[in-house]
Each structure stands twice: as structure tokens, then as C-alpha cells.
């Protein structure tokens, strides 16, 4: 086992464990914290995949901004009453069925190695330039549209957050 | 009084000049002469009317001046003084007065050093001395009893001496 493998298994298992805790923990704050851990481990996997820029972005955006927002909202809402029960029986069964079915299918699919048609010639770097160049060249329009989307989302949030929303 | 809010110029409204002036002011103070007194080694100078801890005094003949009239107990705002009156034995050297405190307690935790006891005492038996560091490890230690108070007060050589010829 190379160090790469060790790291992979460590990050993967830690991440999946965090995922289980997200779902299973009674307290939403705990869930959120586990989700942060999940994101951090995921960033680790990104690093293993040499996507350094995205790893940084993953932590910056997801862990740094999104989850803080989550925590903020959880704390704002007084959720004590809803901590009582995590699952309904029916829902638990349903969830397990669906998740189980998915995993089963996954098992079937991944029994055969996924062959990839290597379309690129050289290794893809995960540095800033490697990701950003196509972003500003091939994906300029989506990039701008995303920016617009963020703007719209911002306005929407401001509107939604008004106290006298009807 | 109506204080007119001063009209600030654009430059002042950035608050930068004030902040810089403040920084300069604090900086100027760094090399200044320090006023700190190295306390336990260096005692403060106490001036004329300093009001420290109240104590009992004896006259030049070593007689307890207090006759337990309880006026100080009456006047004491925080009720720090507690006197148990008693007889002065007739055959003692200081039996010129019939009455003396059997016990005289000043609770230094309660005392506010107002000096009213000194003011009110008809016998000039109680004085506020210069002691200001009244400390102790237990509450009981700070309940100064008659002996302690007399010891602190010592002999007060005073012209006025009411009971001398009795």
C-alpha cells in the first residue's frame, strides 16, 4: 500500500463516516459540523486528485461560507422541539430501501472496471491556471451567467429575508 | 442645554484624522514618566485628613477611653460597629468611669471609612487611623475586637480628658 492509497482510504472512510453522522445525529448542529468535516475530507480527496484549486475553493466556499450560513440559520431558528425524533419508521425503511437499491446497482455497475477513453493527451494539472484558463476561454458565457445567477440569488435572499414577507 | 452636532467635513467623516490624532496621542504617552507606585515596597503618602480604619485609643494613663455609650454604633451607616456594654470593675486603676465596653467589634468588611463614629464620639475614643490595607483570609479575622482595636489605636495623648478627676 503506497502512501497515496493510505491517504485515499483514510479520506474516503472518514468522509463516509462523517456522512453517516450527518444523517444520524440527533442535533442539527452536530449534523452541520459533521458536514463540515465531510467537506474537509472531500477537499483532501480533491487534493489526491490533484485538483488543488478546487480543494481550496471547496473549503473556502463550502466550509467557510455555506456551512457557516447553515449554522447561522440553525442557531437563529429555535429547533429544540424538532430534535425529539430523528426518523419515522416508515421514512427510515424507505430511505434504507432507496439507498440500498442504489448501492446494489452501484455494486453491479462497478463490478466491471469503468473504462475511460483518455481524450486528453497530457496530465491535467489542478492548479489555478489549468482550471481558470478554460473558464475564461471556453466557458465565458456560463461563467457570466453564473455570476448573474449569484446576483439574482442575492437579491432573492434579500427579498426573502425581509420581515414583512407576505 | 442643546448641543449642536458639529457639521463634519468629508474628510472628517472618514474619521481618519481623529483616529490618527488618537494614535499619536497614545504614542506620545509611551515614553512619558510613569505614575505607577510599586505598592508593597513603596507606600502611598497619606495626607492630613486621610480616613483609614477606625480604632480605639487609650488615654495617657493607659485607660480605655471608650465608655460604651454606643453612639458610634447608632450612627454607623453600614452598621459595622457592635458594642457589648459592661461594667468597669470598681477596684481597677481606671475605674474612674463605671462603664466600659465588654466587647467592641468593628466589622472591617462592612466599614465604609466614613468617619462618622469619630465625629460622634463624645469621649474622643475612636479615631480613623491611616491603616488602609485591612486584609485577612477569613471573615472572622476582619471582625476587629476590642483588644485588636486598642492595640491598633495605642495611646492617644490628648489635652481633653473628661474623666480625669472622677
Amino acid at each position: 500500500m503506497s502512501s497515496y492509497d493510505i491517504l485515499f482510504w483514510f479520506f474516503s472512510l472518514a468522509m463516509l463516516l462523517s456522512g453517516v453522522l450527518v444523517i444520524a445525529s440527533r442535533n442539527p448542529v452536530t449534523s452541520a459540523i459533521c458536514l463540515v468535516a465531510l467537506f474537509v475530507f472531500m477537499a483532501g480527496l480533491f487534493v489526491l486528485l490533484e485538483a488543488f484549486f478546487l480543494a481550496a475553493i471547496q473549503i473556502l466556499v463550502y466550509a467557510g461560507a455555506v456551512m457557516v450560513l447553515f449554522l447561522f440559520v440553525i442557531m437563529l431558528l429555535d429547533l429544540k422541539a424538532s430534535q425529539r425524533r430523528r426518523f419515522g419508521w416508515l421514512a427510515a425503511v424507505g430511505g434504507l430501501v432507496v439507498a440500498g437499491a442504489l448501492v446494489w446497482e452501484l455494486g453491479i455497475i462497478l463490478q466491471t472496471p469503468v473504462t475511460v477513453a483518455v481524450s486528453g493527451q497530457t496530465e491535467v494539472g489542478g492548479g489555478l491556471e489549468a482550471v481558470v484558463k478554460p473558464l475564461f476561454a471556453n466557458y465565458m458565457l456560463p461563467f457570466q451567467v453564473t455570476a448573474l445567477l449569484l446576483l439574482v440569488a442575492m437579491i432573492g435572499v434579500v427579498l426573502l429575508s425581509k420581515k414583512d414577507l407576505q | 442645554m442643546i448641543v449642536q452636532r458639529p457639521k463634519l467635513t468629508w474628510w472628517e467623516r472618514t474619521y481618519l484624522p481623529q483616529i490618527l490624532a488618537g494614535l499619536w496621542l497614545t504614542l506620545k504617552h509611551i515614553p512619558r514618566r510613569k505614575f505607577t507606585r510599586q505598592y508593597p515596597e513603596e507606600k502611598p503618602l497619606l495626607y492630613g485628613d486621610y480616613r483609614g480604619a477606625p480604632v480605639l485609643v487609650k488615654d495617657a494613663d493607659g485607660r480605655v477611653k471608650c465608655v460604651s455609650c454606643q453612639l458610634c454604633e447608632f450612627v454607623c451607616p453600614p452598621k459595622a460597629i457592635r458594642i457589648t456594654p459592661g461594667f468597669r470593675p470598681e477596684n481597677r486603676f481606671d475605674a474612674n468611669v463605671e462603664k466600659e465596653p465588654k466587647d467592641f467589634v468593628i466589622d472591617m468588611l462592612r466599614c465604609i471609612y466614613c468617619g462618622m463614629c469619630e465625629e460622634v464620639c463624645p469621649e474622643e475614643a475612636i479615631f480613623l487611623k491611616n491603616d488602609f490595607a485591612i486584609t485577612g483570609y477569613k471573615r472572622e479575622e476582619l471582625q476587629f475586637h476590642k483588644e485588636k482595636l486598642l492595640e491598633l489605636g495605642g495611646v492617644h495623648d490628648d489635652k481633653i480628658w473628661k474623666w480625669k478627676n472622677k
Binding site: 442535533n27 448542529v29 452536530t30 459540523i33 463540515v36 474537509v40 488543488f52 484549486f53 481550496a56 475553493i57 473549503i59 473556502l60 466550509a63 467557510g64 461560507a65 457557516v68 450560513l69 449554522l71 447561522f72 442557531m75 437563529l76 492548479g127 489555478l128 | 483616529i19 488618537g22 494614535l23 496621542l25 497614545t26 504614542l27 504617552h29 509611551i30 515614553p31 512619558r32 514618566r33 510613569k34 505614575f35 505607577t36
Partner: protein, 342 residues
């Protein structure tokens, strides 16, 4: 590989050791400067001139009883202080302390991890530091810590934006996110504080807000929140918050030195180029630390000069003044770079 690991470990140990020492003495500095400004002497009892005071404080904090209130969320309450301290310790790893140290014929880089996305890395982990405070506030299950936590999270998120946007012009000018490259650029050209005063100013002020320092110390505002998020903490847990704050200050100062004050460089030879001899390499580290300490002094100086802002003023400053200013600054710098430089 082994060599890399060994050198890295040595570097980590050295950096963290120096950093924590400086952090401890920053607390001293704080108390001294405060005292001097108020015409007092300051701590001078423990050891010669009071130099052992941090040690005494540390011993006291460790030996104090660690109170675990029964109403807290035990796990989160416990990891809160750690999370505060951690980002600072991680971030110091990408800041170049010196150019390089020629030892035994090797050139050892003056930075633990010379990342290409250095600044992003720093922002990413700096962003995590808010968790410590928020969790501490929430897990304490008590109203003052809670208010402190909420305030802190809002404040830190807000000012992260300013912080991030304010340094964009720097990288536009330098052309790389790598902090070593930023320093080398400055060593070769001029300190960026001269080229990017607006960026520096906003970064400086936002750094105060990010580290919860006066005048932006609303999350801990003693008078209103009796200490804010750390109200319920005692002993070393409290000590970690304390260290976390000062470590964050240290990192921010180091970052400012790196970004705006030329890092390890001085604008004359032989300090304006990466070291080729050991003395110069060591001198570079000294220069860097001297600059950092100067900035730490500035932090302290400001704290004892300027009173605390009101919360709405804080937010208004961030959102209504700094963010527009940074954007204008970016556009302006971009325009200048596009029109003038090219």
C-alpha cells in the same frame, strides 16, 4: 523523501515554537504597551522585568480547575477552542518566513509549504476559524456566548469578503497567488504598500475585524457580553481561545508583511534577493520577524487607542464602505494595469 519529511518536521517545529513564543510575548506586549500608554509600568514582578510573566500565566491557566458546566454540549464545547487555534497554526505553514537557508550545500526554503494557491489556502483555513467561535458560543448553551458567537460569525463572514477582495489587486499586479513569489516580486520591485495603499488599508482594517480585535472586538465585548463566546470557558480551554486570538493576529501580521511590506526583504542589497549564504538567510528571517513584531505592536497600539464600534457601524463599514471600495479598487487597478502598464 525522508529528507523532505525530516526538514519539514524541523521547520514545523521551529516555526510553531517561534510563533507560540511570540504569541505568548504578544500578550506581554499588550499589557506593557497598554500600561505605558496609560503612564503605568505594566507587569514587572515575575522574573527580571516581568519577562517570565507569560510563563506564569501559562502555568496558572493549565493548573486552574477546568470547569465543564453541565448544560453544555460536551463534545462541541471541547473542540471549540481547538478549532480556534488550529487555522492559525495551519496557515503559518504557507507564509514564507525567509528566502532560503543554505545549509550543508542545500537550499532550504524559508517556507514549510510553498503552495501555488497560497493565499487561497490561507483564506480557506482562515474561514474555518469562525467555527471555533461559533461552536463555542453555541455549545456553551448560555446567552452571552451565544450572542458572541452569532456576532462573530456575521462579522467574520462579512469581513472575509473585504479581506479577500482587498488583496485581489496585489495578485493582479504580481501575477501569482504564490506568497513566495509575492515577496520576491516586492524584493525586486518595491513594497506593495506603496503601490496598493488602498488594498493595504482595507486589508489592515479587515484584519482587525477578522481577528476580533478592538475596535472590532464585538464578539467578546466584555461590557455587553461579559466576554462573549468564551464566557463559560475556564482553564486551558480559555487559554486556547486566548492563544488563538493572538496566533490569528500573528498570522494576519505575517500575511500583511508578506503581502505589503516585502516579507523578508529590505530594499537594498543583499536583502533584496533570495539569500545565498546562511547569515543572510538568517537575517531574512530576523527581518521578517521584526516586521511582524512591528505590526503586532500596531495591533496593540490601536487596541488601546480606539474604542469599540457599534455593531451596526461595523456592518455598515464592511458592507457599505469597504466592499464597494475594494471593487472600485480592483476595477481601478485593472484599468491601470491594462491601460498604463501594457
Amino acid at each position: 523523501m525522508i529528507e523532505f519529511i525530516v526538514i519539514s518536521f524541523i521547520k514545523i517545529a521551529a516555526v510553531i515554537g517561534v510563533m507560540l513564543t511570540i504569541v505568548a510575548y504578544t500578550v506581554m506586549l499588550e499589557r506593557w504597551v497598554c500600561a505605558w500608554m496609560q503612564d503605568r509600568i505594566g507587569p514587572n514582578r515575575v522574573g527580571p522585568f516581568g519577562f517570565l510573566q507569560p510563563l506564569a500565566d501559562g502555568v496558572k491557566l493549565i493548573l486552574k480547575e477546568d470547569v465543564l458546566p453541565h448544560h453544555v454540549h460536551k463534545v462541541l464545547y471541547t473542540i471549540g477552542p481547538t478549532l480556534v487555534l488550529m487555522p492559525a497554526l495551519i496557515n503559518i505553514g504557507v507564509i514564507p518566513w525567509g528566502s532560503n537557508l543554505p545549509v550543508f550545500g542545500r537550499y532550504i526554503k524559508g517556507v514549510i509549504a510553498d503552495l501555488d494557491i497560497g493565499i487561497l489556502f490561507i483564506f480557506a483555513f482562515a474561514a474555518l476559524s469562525v467555527y471555533g467561535i461559533v461552536l463555542a458560543g453555541w455549545a456553551s448553551n448560555s446567552k452571552y456566548p451565544f450572542l458572541g458567537g452569532i456576532r462573530s460569525s456575521a462579522q467574520m463572514i462579512s469581513y472575509e469578503v473585504c479581506l479577500g477582495l482587498s488583496v485581489v489587486p496585489v495578485f493582479m499586479q504580481v501575477g501569482a497567488l504564490n506568497l513566495s513569489k509575492v515577496v520576491e516580486y516586492q524584493a525586486a520591485h518595491s513594497w506593495l504598500v506603496l503601490c496598493q495603499p488602498v488594498s493595504f488599508f482595507i486589508f489592515l482594517v479587515s484584519a482587525f475585524a477578522e481577528t476580533n480585535r478592538t475596535p472590532f472586538d464585538l464578539p467578546e465585548a466584555e461590557q455587553e457580553l461579559v466576554g462573549g463566546y468564551n464566557t463559560e470557558y475556564s482553564s486551558m480551554k480559555f487559554g486556547m481561545f486566548f492563544m488563538g486570538e493572538y496566533a490569528a493576529m500573528f498570522v494576519m501580521s505575517a500575511l500583511m508583511v508578506t503581502l505589503f511590506f516585502g516579507g523578508w526583504s529590505l530594499p537594498f542589497a543583499p536583502f533584496n534577493a533570495p539569500a545565498t549564504s546562511l547569515p543572510v538567510g538568517l537575517a531574512h528571517i530576523g527581518i521578517f520577524l521584526a516586521k511582524v513584531v512591528a505590526l503586532l505592536f500596531f495591533y496593540v497600539w490601536v487596541r488601546w487607542t480606539i474604542p469599540r464600534f457599534r455593531y451596526d457601524q461595523l456592518m455598515a463599514l464592511g458592507w457599505k464602505v469597504f466592499i464597494p471600495l475594494t471593487i472600485v479598487n480592483i476595477v481601478f487597478v485593472g484599468a491601470v494595469l491594462a491601460l498604463v502598464v501594457k
